[in-house]
Symmetry: C2
Subunit: 450 residues, 2 copies
């Protein structure tokens, strides 16, 4: 491995210049006027994959933007990594808040500022360079690798499931590696081994045919706003525990080991509350903040709307009221089962409950061999033992790979919590970028070792 | 009185033509482009008052539109009526829903269709014609009358309180008569002797500095939407009773006599629910629907807003949530005291509660001599004993006259519940118009008798 690492260290500055080229392509998948740029980014990715020595590189057309595929399968008997990333980026509005143009990557204070620097071109490129170093120095990789890069991650990955289904045989692997997430904190490299799932609903209530005057009719009829408030209020008790019968039945309790690990993380409730501008934190009693966010399910009212909401006072009893609610789920809660429990619980009154999107929770045991291999690689790349954390959010592709291919995923991200992934001034720490390339190079080696 | 009634019967058709002129003036006080028309309606009112024989007629300027004043004070020793009405009208949008142009009064099936036909030009004009009949036939009225007509009723009567305060001495009277309300139902003339009051609040909650992702932060912080729902839900119990401590302390219980009267009214819960398009009626147990609307206080959530309310699903924990709530009050609840009770009850959590407009409840005992005089006049004008009802809504000027002048009001309205006062196709039943002129002529006589 020494010659591989030497190569990476020697070429450190060149990598930044190469990455700048990739970042210069405004591949904003959400904006039709950038469709040509998105395709250009696909082609640039494919060209780069060929340059670094990947084989069978091609664009696979989908009803949307193409998936870039390439592989290197010369490590007979070794495990196969399926690497997933994306070449599309978020929009850049409001562009006037950017300190440097979003598509002219600029280095300031050791950070590379550009749209896509962290999410996800920079982290994809990190693997390109790790692969290149192996192939250039040794003519081979310690593992087999298949790469797929999609161009629709920022707009919901509508065509990814189908792509994976249709190419199931070509995507055979042992583990998925995804580098599209931040570390726990600056200087604290981490491996994420669990994500929450989601069920999302819209609740619609109708009381009367049309809005009524609250003077002439107040007292005669139920007020949908009030009924909605009552429905929502009864979903949680004062200690923050969700009251839907059966809701917690399948929740996998935290292991003592996990709790111990997380307790050691540098996390301070008061500082966190201050950062969020919250008077204080709140949640289910009996669990720390990180435990609640990473390993406990939630019930959130995402939206509320009913009646008169403009300036001033209007004395109306609304005809209709609406709420959007969602529940984050943890292993082993099943979205379908939870959806059913919620609907059963809600339908004690006359309401319309519409289920919207959702996804299963996910987790790999943190003593899984691939997770541990990733941990060793991070330690070698960053000179520091990583923390093993879970995440409160959901990454739908992880569920896709789990369900369609039956593969575990390793989330091997080197972004930072303040990377501004979907905001102005997105950035990638160049120290993390370099450490990430080395860690990636080691990752292949560690996975090969098993 | 016979010659007065004969005069009214003889001129019946002419009245409709005269009223059409009044209705042709688009005196929409809410729209600046109609300011000239509003003034024109004031002048038309003054001219008409001079024509029918009123004295001291003049426009009194205010910071908004003028108040039209006129009097006839020749009935020495007799009581004095202060008649209040308004010459401004509601906007007419959406104008394409009108079956005939809103300012070209049109008769169809015995109804006169025009903006202002019922609210309030038609009902003001009814009194003009009753006064005219007395003065033309007898040279005098049985009572003294002062008329004030305002031009800002449809935009909140912002200048009326000051006008009444400044002209307190010129407005001396024994009773206020207002004809600006509907009857109980077609064919059921009624006298309204009670109104509810109002307190109105906006509740604002802030959880965090900005919206948060419900995946990454769900479980860490309280959700303002949920806290709002919990605040609102605890305001009422399942039987519809308001749970604010002390809320009912000053509520005047219904008299057995009132309950008996109202029980005899032709009112059917099922038909009413069907008219409103409500699955069923709902309210405080132990009271009939009419009792709840006319004589019991309410707590209504007039508006709800928080988080994501567009199409689809967005996983957000909102930074802020807002509700508009109001309580209808009944005698002898005091808005200031109720506001204080509400604020005390709400501020068990950290919220911003802003008190908006409001008004006191009002009622005259229904055996009050003026109310009874009005009842006899209605019976003579409509050939039918009126019902004595209360109203769920509020008419702020009634409180103004009560508070500033210490005068009781008689609500002597001949509109109909389906008159479309603030909607397209406003109309006045011509039978009620004619009966109302006769009843008004008798009203002066009955009030004079005491």
């Amino acid at each position: 491995m020494d010659n591989v690492i030497d190569f990476i260290n020697t070429n450190r500055d060149k990598y930044v210049d190469q990455l700048k080229e990739y970042l210069a392509i405004p591949s904003i998948s959400a904006l039709p006027e950038h469709a040509g740029d998105v395709k250009r980014a696909a082609e640039w990715s494919a060209d780069e994959m060929r340059r670094i020595g990947m084989q069978n590189v091609r664009l696979v057309e989908t009803p949307g933007f193409p998936v870039v595929y390439g592989d290197w399968l010369g490590a007979e008997g070794a495990p196969t990594i399926l690497f997933y990333g994306h070449y599309d980026v978020q929009p850049v509005d409001p562009v006037n808040l950017w300190e440097s143009p979003p598509f002219e990557a600029t280095v300031r204070d050791g950070e590379l500022y550009a749209r896509g620097a962290a999410d996800d071109k920079g982290q994809v490129f990190m693997h390109f360079k790790a692969i290149e170093a192996h192939l250039k120095q040794n003519g081979k990789l310690p593992v087999n690798i298949r790469i797929i890069l999609e161009g629709e991650e920022e707009v919901g990955s509508a065509n990814l499931d189908n792509f994976v289904k249709e190419h199931k045989d070509e995507l055979k692997a042992d583990v998925v590696v995804i580098s599209d997430s931040p570390m726990f904190d600056r200087g604290i490299p981490s491996i994420c081994y669990g994500l929450r799932g989601l069920v999302y609903f819209q609740i619609d209530l109708r009381g009367t045919r049309s809005d009524l005057h609250s003077g002439s009719f107040g007292g005669a009829v139920a007020n949908p706003n009030m009924v909605l408030a009552q429905i929502l209020a009864q979903m949680k008790d004062k200690s923050g525990r969700i009251r839907i019968p059966g809701f917690y039945d399948d929740v996998r309790e935290l292991k003592e080991e996990e709790r111990e690990q997380w307790k050691r993380l540098p996390f301070n409730d008061r500082r966190y509350a201050k950062e969020l501008g919250a008077p204080k934190l709140f949640g289910e009693t009996g669990y720390s903040t990180l435990e609640r966010v990473w390993a406990r399910p939630t019930f959130e009212v995402n939206g509320l709307l009913g009646g008169f909401t403009g300036e001033g006072a209007k004395t109306v009893i609304p005809a209709v009221a609406m709420a959007k609610v969602s529940m984050r789920l943890v292993p082993n809660q099943d979205p379908d089962k939870i959806a059913q429990l919620f609907e059963d619980h809600t339908k004690t009154v006359e309401v319309k409950v519409t289920r919207m999107h959702g996804g299963k929770p996910w987790m790999t045991d943190f003593d899984n061999k691939f997770v541990q291999a990733a941990g060793r690689a991070i330690q070698k790349g960053f000179g520091k033992e990583p923390v093993f954390n879970r995440e409160g959010g959901s990454i739908p592709v992880v569920a896709t790979f789990q369900e369609i291919l039956g593969l575990p995923s390793v989330l091997f991200g080197v972004g930072l919590p303040d990377e501004n992934a979907h905001a102005p001034n997105e950035k990638l720490d160049l120290g993390n970028f370099h450490g990430g390339i080395i860690a990636s190079a080691f990752l292949y080696d560690e996975i090969a070792k098993g």
